[in-house]
Subunit: 243 residues, 2 copies
């Protein structure tokens, strides 16, 4: 953990905050914080800053925070992801937040099992702590916005433009000849929306619908990767191309 | 699994092979192979090919294979990795093999716990099946060569040149301004050796020793990533730059 993220309601106007519960236990037993120590802190969707430890007690850790004037820029990449099986999705949340994504759009697809949507891992109570873990790792405060869509066609045709306004749209395709870097080199892309299909791939119908809505195919060479590996690799390539 | 990898001794000169044990069980119950079906196969460190299923029995699956004339190229990237904790290393083996690495050099460092080297996950009996899993995912046959080194200084000063002959050497450093793509753009790199440090970073002594042995610092921007996420992201960037 490279920063401790606080919820906006945890900090008062004078910068006083109190860690309680799991956060306080982590600070005491893992970080072994002591009175007088300085910690890196941040507020979810707010600024980063530094905090003096004022008190370490069994029921909580009291901090006094001084925040930066600016809020970290929202990551410029959004992800449209065919919902992987729960075990893989569980591994992905923190990694997506650590790599930096503005929005995570989870969708069904012909080759996504329907019952994946009933898994606990797509409920905010489960994924929010994992997103926080990733943000704390990467020293960011910008919480990815998450939405879950059970109807692919409705999402692409009717909802996506409102969720992800005009931007460069890429879809990962192992057969595509052009890399994300080559595709983005010719553009002044402000934001990129990156679509990643299910383990078995998109169907022809889905590919056509994505193409009709502006998604350009990009590849990483002939190796087929597991969804979680592919997500991390593609996000690294797109972020690298945007820098 | 996108190819079934056979051990060299499993295939006779006429191309007959027999899956047994876990491989046969996987073929029967997960892939549901049937007599007459064609499967993608490969031989570890040998060629890829196709196999006809000749027999499916309780004690094994008989195949007749026809192999390509050429063996896949060895991946052009090697990894020098400060041994992460066992749980992270366990997750990494298959991903490294899937992304493609010629060699995996695991090393100690000041911020690597000594007992990580006693973990089962660094024994060939444990990691070889995970590497096979990654190769089968990526449809490759080239088994990464693995070596484990408990003395960092001896490795870098006395052993590394023999393990990884002259090549571009990069070391990941969150503070470095240049990306792998920028660093590799100016070179005709045949192979790249990529060093990735422990969660707490290399010490100054380790950084200096790496620099003295030709490692150039490369970064991915200000976000600090978990070792496994960083490995996947950096390998994707280096492979992308080499293509």
């Amino acid at each position: 953990m490279n920063v401790i993220l606080l919820e906006p309601g945890d900090v008062n106007d004078e910068g006083h905050a109190r860690l309680s519960g799991a956060a306080a236990a982590h600070a005491r037993t893992v970080l072994r914080v002591a009175v007088g120590q300085t910690l890196r802190v941040g507020v979810v969707d707010g600024p980063l800053g530094l905090a003096d430890v004022r008190e370490v007690a069994a029921d909580g850790v009291a901090l006094h925070c001084a925040f930066e004037r600016t809020v970290p820029e929202r990551p410029r990449v959004d992800v449209l992801l065919a919902l992987p099986r729960p075990k893989v999705m569980r591994r992905l949340w923190a990694q997506l937040a650590a790599l930096g994504v503005g929005r995570i759009v989870l969708t069904s697809a012909a080759r996504v099992e329907r019952d994946y949507f009933d898994a606990h891992v797509v409920t905010p109570e489960r994924y929010r702590p994992l997103l926080i873990e990733g943000l704390q790792q990467a020293r960011d405060t910008r919480m990815p916005q998450v939405s879950v869509h059970r109807r692919f066609k409705v999402l692409i045709e009717d909802e996506l433009d409102a969720l992800c306004p005009p931007s460069v749209r890429l879809v990962a395709d192992p057969a595509a000849a052009r890399s994300p870097a080559e595709t983005l080199a010719a553009r002044a892309a402000d934001r990129v929306l990156l679509a990643i299909g299910p383990e078995g791939g998109w169907t022809d119908f889905e590919c056509d619908l994505l193409a009709a809505h502006g998604f350009e195919r990009v590849g990483m060479g002939p190796r087929t990767l597991r969804t979680d590996t592919a997500c991390v690799a593609l996000l690294a390539l797109v972020h690298g191309a945007l820098r």
